[in-house]
């Protein structure tokens, strides 16, 4: 399976509030309150690091979660945010200017 690359969209409003990331989609104004794990993935979504590496390096290590379950959860989370234009997802690295 090809690695997935994820990047934060520029068209969001986002702010850390009390340790949790609040993100609003500019596409449909849906507001998300990301928990610690989701916030960590969000922060690491640089368009260059594959999602599985983010999960291993950030989620599994910092939150002591088994890789398979963590990857499944991360994929579901990424798919949902991508549906609102909050994350960009690609099988290729995502260049800075397209975010």
């Amino acid at each position: 399976m090809s690695p997935l690359y994820i990047a934060r969209s520029k068209s969001v409003a986002a702010r850390m509030l009390g340790g949790e990331m609040m993100v609003m989609s500019a596409q449909d104004s849906t507001l998300f309150d990301l928990n610690d794990t989701a916030s960590a993935i969000w922060q690491a979504a640089d368009g260059i690091t594959p999602l599985n590496e983010i999960v291993e390096r950030v989620v599994c290590k910092e939150f002591d979660v088994a890789p398979e379950a963590a990857f499944q959860d991360a994929e579901a989370f990424v798919t949902e945010l991508a549906g609102h234009g909050i994350l960009l997802v690609s099988e290729q690295p995502i260049p800075q200017e397209t975010k």
Binding site: A13, R15, L17, M24, A26
Partner: protein, 375 residues
């Protein structure tokens, strides 16, 4: 509880300034009869100063940023400021008369991810709207702009301030909003000038008209929703200085745009230091409903929309806001403690409207507000 409300409560608990209203200019290309601003430029912040401020606001945790004025589009560097604000990932709302917004400007706003554009419309009839703004053709231009913005997919609100000469037209404004596919916000609040001059209050609705408007189901106020008073006494009177504040084009920080209590200046201090340590903001924060000498004992306390800023402009931030007393009376038919006292003192006696011009309306106090502003 909706997520946005949860967010507001969390910010309140953490003392985070979730929302900031920033006026980037007081200059304006309209001359609305009810406006509370001095439109001369007394040294507004440069784009560089505003960008520095925006960075500080982001670091302080500000999420919602309202850019307003004056007329925001009169700044040649408006899009430079907006672009930076979005780079800082604020949820940006714009307030404008929109007469300088064409297809290109609307397109740029959409590209930059503006959340909402609020346009001031006073009537659906050009002869009425243009008489308020004193700019012939302004209604047509504002409507055109609303269409451009809407066509780009932006959220647009029409803000309709109701005055004695325009109030009869609010159903027409609502119909216009529906036709344009945008939302209409009705507001009955005319505020004194920021220097304390109360002349604009003469434009307020009559008692009967206020009653009619507030009784209209189209109007936003929902008495039932506001009527839980079980923990009312421990409530903070409003969000001003708790999770929101206002910054003027000159860098002055106030608890709210309607609360001209100077609390610091971002040209002299970092925003977060003002937010955390300003004596004035801390005083506003310390007030609970139970601390309000008249209002805590008032029969309208659970439904009143008392504005502490308007109370301050009447002379006492812990006192009543007579305009809100009048609104409460129009909604509930119950005379507030404040209005009862005025009545007992022989002022006006019957006509609440008459109290405005009576000698009992704290004549000295606007001057106090004016001193505070210029301090």
């Amino acid at each position: 509880m909706r997520l946005m409300e949860e967010m507001g409560q969390r910010a309140l608990d953490l003392g985070v300034p979730l929302s900031v209203h920033l006026d980037i200019t007081y200059r304006c290309n309209e001359r609305c009869v009810h406006c509370y601003l001095d439109h001369e430029d007394h040294g507004e912040m440069t784009a560089a100063e505003i960008k520095k401020l925006l960075k500080e606001l982001a670091e302080a945790g500000v999420f919602m940023l309202t850019l307003s004025g004056g007329e925001i589009m009169l700044r040649r560097d408006f899009f430079e400021i907006l672009e930076y604000a979005r780079e800082m990932q604020f949820l940006v709302k714009l307030k404008t008369n929109a007469i300088l917004i064409g297809d290109r400007e609307a397109d740029r706003m959409r590209q930059l991810g503006v959340d909402t554009v609020q346009i001031s419309i006073y009537s659906h009839r050009p002869e009425i709207h243009d008489a308020i703004t004193k700019v012939p053709g302004s209604l047509g231009r504002s409507i055109e702009a609303a269409k451009f913005l809407k066509s780009k997919g932006l959220k647009v609100n029409i803000a309709n301030v109701l005055m004695k000469d325009t109030a009869q037209d609010y159903p027409g404004v609502i119909a216009l909003a529906k036709e344009l596919g945008v939302h209409a916000l009705l507001d009955t609040m005319i505020t004194p000038m920021m220097d304390g001059d109360r002349a604009p209050l003469e434009l307020n609705l009559s008692e009967q008209k206020l009653k009619d408007v507030l009784g209209d189901p189209e109007f936003a106020a929902d008495v039932a929703e506001m009527s839980d008073c079980s923990t009312q006494m421990d409530h903070v009177p409003c969000s001003a200085a708790h999770n929101s504040c206002y910054v003027s084009p000159y860098g002055d920080v106030y608890p709210c745009v309607q609360f001209p209590l100077p609390s610091g200046n971002v040209r002299k201090q970092r925003f977060i230091d003002i937010w955390n340590h300003s004596e004035q903001l801390n005083e506003v924060r310390s007030i609970r409903v139970r601390d309000l000498p008249n209002c805590s004992a008032c029969g309208n306390v659970s439904t009143c929309t008392r504005c502490p800023g308007l109370a301050y402009m009447e002379g006492n931030m812990r006192g009543p806001s007579t305009q809100d007393c009048e609104k409460s009376y129009a909604r509930t038919g119950i005379l507030s403690v404040n209005l009862q006292k005025k009545k007992a003192a022989g002022a006006g006696l019957v006509q609440i409207q008459a109290l405005r011009s009576s000698p009992l309306v704290q004549i000295q106090q606007p001057a106090v507000a004016a001193q505070a502003v210029s301090a």
